[in-house]
Symmetry: C2
Subunit: 162 residues, 2 copies
């Protein structure tokens, strides 16, 4: 992959409203395959943690179910958790998201997968925060770099799936 | 207690901002006693559920800790849960609040107890919602009646504590 192609495949991060972050990214894989990588915990564990070891402590994939992941990075452990609000295969998940470092600061994530019809899939992920300050804190946290690392790990995983 | 006094002791419910509900109510008990009734699970179970049986499945009273209550009412069971963001004895708790019937719709509750200096305590509880629609849904849910039932049960409990 050339440097130019790699650069073109970074996620696009925008702020469409004062409490929102919108992320868009295209993957070179059909939608069903991307859906599996997001909803099969064995696959999710291989890319979600930016390439770090990820322990999936809970993954109850149904409305009202809870999820909890612990990422084991070089700088220590980070826990993340939330609850599923809506699951509509193969295209939409709405869930809450919380990082243990800021317990009780809850983000609503709406993830949609769009079938581009040419074997590629576009993901659009909108995060809604309770306040603009929390949104800005997330933007300043290095979230974009971590996101791109995870999506690159997902690229590698998708290339191995059938 | 006369009917007039009883009426004067209903909670005051207002909407100071488009995603907020503010609740204010005075209790005829010193602040330390009210704090105990909010933070000792054995006491909490006696008033929180509007006089219904309340099972406290989880109550980890620390930053990042989780809580989960199940109310057993005449019309069935209702689960509620959340996580503690801040606990500052004897005056302030910030926590998330979610009802199982609408999983993933998360309210931030900031509860403050003010010592009125005459043996009474004022509670001010501000709830922040992700959207105005969610706030309005809560207002229309009969929440105010349930709240007053719980606070009346708390009045009765406080009168028995030393």
């Amino acid at each position: 992959m050339s440097a130019a192609t790699k650069s073109a495949n970074k996620a696009t991060v925008t702020t469409p409203a004062d409490r929102e972050i919108r992320i868009e990214r295209t993957f070179d894989a059909p939608r069903d395959r991307v859906w599996r990588a997001f909803t099969d915990p064995k696959l999710l564990a291989q890319w979600w943690g930016r390439g770090n070891k990820l322990v999936i402590e809970k993954f109850e994939l149904e409305r009202g179910g809870h999820w909890r992941f612990v990422e084991h990075g070089p700088e220590g452990k980070h826990g993340f958790e939330g609850r599923f609000r809506e699951i509509t295969p193969p295209s939409r998940v709405v869930q809450t998201f919380e990082w243990d470092g800021m317990p009780g600061y809850v983000i609503i994530e709406t993830m949609e997968l769009e079938d581009l019809g040419d074997g590629r899939t576009r993901i659009v992920n909108v995060s809604l925060f309770h306040t603009t300050e929390e949104r800005d804190g997330m933007l300043q946290s290095g979230m974009e770099e971590g996101l791109n690392q995870s999506y690159e790990a997902l690229d590698r995983l998708l290339a191995t799936l059938e």
